[in-house]
Symmetry: C2
Subunit: 381 residues, 2 copies
């Protein structure tokens, strides 16, 4: 039986008629962010390789490439497939991986795109080199160094050199540079403190590069950086390539921290929701909860009425499919009249929120102009 | 180009070779839970209508029906589609909804299944009645009463009676009973305290039923209850139908609270992950984070080695695609040897974790026997 829910939206629809919950892109803000980051990277003479884990959409990746990006990052091998299938020619998997299932994907991807990957342990270098050789492909390898996040990455020059030697010993691998990413400082609230932290991470990366140079190893690429530190990373002179992802969308957490310098990222990503119940004074319930909003970095910090005429409400808690909205002013008002009204919610954290949806509904001035599949949704292997 | 990631697993595979991260069902534990709840409901003479929002899989719903369930609950109309398509004949949408997009789904579903829905406001009754009449379908309607959760549901007998009258005035609607669900007490840690709260919710429901009876309105169904309170709900004599969902899987949060009476739910749902980096003493990194584990009810509370031979580790934090694992005992040990080893993680909250995956990999004794699509994943409209 072909029985499936109707589409959430069609091109030409008014935003007010889009089914809810839906994930919405404000294309004017999105385009401004897209252009601003491309111009920023060009101005500073660094390559831009945006992180596709933030948007998981080949339609968006194609627009990033058209705007000047040298390729994209993915965080997982399976995540890279839709981008490879869509013709993105250069993909960096900015993460370690291990196991036969992963090697199978790596060599398949490398037969379609210029693939680079991260490593931080010698057994993975050998396994990858053997698999690539058997498959007749070449893979660029960037050892990851721990720039202060204390997650993955080598923690000593000796360990880095051992990896570089290991890569050199594999005919199907090519040492392409290093990755130095510090995710933990991207959201440091104070701009100056964030600058200090970013500079410290860049110094760590610089010391590894110097150690390589001292041994006659040329480090072509130093890749890293994120939306929160991109200005400092570009100014450091250390990074040759930047990996920001969230700049396209922003989110509640990034929206809550301090910004300075050239930054001017706009919120372009929202969840459209409908008030579907309001039986108690000063309270309303909307139709999006944990299954439509990632809450790991907090609840939506604001509630925008689509028609700009409603009460000021706060999103105070989320159940699976319910969002609780509370009047900001003390109120015993009857909110029954709000039922059916639409709200826009900026997600607390864009990346895992995007991973809950199958498509973006894109609009300009309230009119749906595009629907983009989130074709890497759920691809976490 | 047909370029897509290889399947995560094939029937017959060893669990040790399943690609990670994957969502795993231990079928022995699952079957035990399935049978126990069916026997429980039969023993207490209440209908069992399990909540499909917990599993989102028509394969599982079919097994619940075969084991005696009268139908399933869904939390959203779009979520009901795959179950209707799979031949589940009776579906209760245990939630309010509003808007033209929702009415379109309701009447389409009602033309394929026996559909019941919740309401808590008169305008929705009229809109639903008009839409059903136009479409030539009949819809069972169960007003929701607020049993103490203070989310949706009417808060007075007068409001309930107005809904009942409104339903009676609509030729395409049928008053079928009431819903009284209190999600907020399902996870009360103390068994006796949970019993008190459940009994209080049942008393609220009973008063609404009595008020209906006093006015000559027969209340056929009183539906509600969840895994945490199902014993008290069944014993109350108020509920005619129970809606538990999590009993099939359990999760970290349910696993951490007190249980008594006849309860003996087993953990059957796990995320299979691989240690993919370990460059610092006493620490390791696995390949599942926020995009493969819902963390709204906490991180995985335990880490099980698939081969039962590793260090005792604690999952201490999650990034998008990384999970940080820390040695439980003070350790300066080199964990590099753990890289490549598999772990099983019981999710903190099963429902939103399930909503991140496209399939269940089901095993018995470490051998993959079934792969079930999570065909309602992402269907939150």
């Amino acid at each position: 039986m072909t029985l499936a829910p109707p589409p959430a939206a069609r091109v030409g629809d008014s935003l007010a008629s889009v089914a809810t919950p839906s994930l919405i892109i404000d294309l004017d803000a999105f385009d401004a962010n897209l252009a601003a980051m491309s111009a920023f990277a060009a101005r500073h003479g660094v390559a831009l390789r945006p992180h596709a884990k933030a948007h998981k959409s080949s339609e968006i990746a194609k627009r990033q490439i058209e705007a000047g990006a040298v390729g994209v990052c993915c965080q997982k091998l399976s995540e890279a497939y839709p981008f490879a299938a869509a013709g993105i020619a250069s993909i960096h998997v900015s993460n370690e991986f291990v196991g036969a299932d992963k090697l199978e994907m790596a060599v398949e991807l490398a037969s379609h795109v210029r693939l680079s990957v991260c490593v931080d342990a010698l057994p993975q270098v050998h396994a990858l080199g053997d698999a690539a050789k058997r498959a007749g492909v070449t893979i660029d390898v960037l050892p990851e160094v721990d720039a202060g996040q204390h997650r993955c990455g080598v923690t000593s020059v000796d360990a880095l050199l051992a990896l570089v030697d290991g890569i050199a010993s594999q005919s199907a691998l090519r040492f392409a540079g290093i990755q130095a990413y510090h995710g933990g400082i991207q959201h440091v609230a104070d701009w100056a403190a964030r600058k200090n932290e970013a500079n410290r991470a860049a110094d760590v990366a610089a010391r590894y590069v110097q150690a390589l140079n001292a041994r006659g190893v040329r480090c072509g690429i130093v890749t890293g950086g994120g939306t929160g530190t991109v200005e400092f990373d570009a100014a450091s002179g250390v990074f040759t390539e930047l990996q920001p992802g969230s700049y396209l969308f922003m989110d509640g957490d990034y929206g809550s921290i301090g910004w300075g310098g050239e930054s001017g990222w706009r919120h372009s990503l929202f969840v459209l929701s409908t008030v579907m119940s309001a039986t108690r004074p000063g309270m309303a319930v909307c139709d999006v909860g944990l299954k439509g909003l990632a809450v790991d970095s907090g609840l939506p910090r604001s509630v925008h009425w689509l028609d700009a005429k409603g009460e000021a409400l706060t999103y105070i808690s989320a159940n699976d499919e319910h969002g609780m909205l509370q009047a900001q002013r003390e109120s015993d008002g009857d909110f029954a009249g709000l039922v059916g009204k639409r709200i826009l919610l900026p997600p607390g954290h864009c990346d895992p929120t995007v991973n809950l949806y199958d498509e973006y509904v894109c609009h300009r001035n309230g009119r749906v102009t595009d629907i983009w599949p989130i074709d890497a949704r759920g691809l976490s292997r």
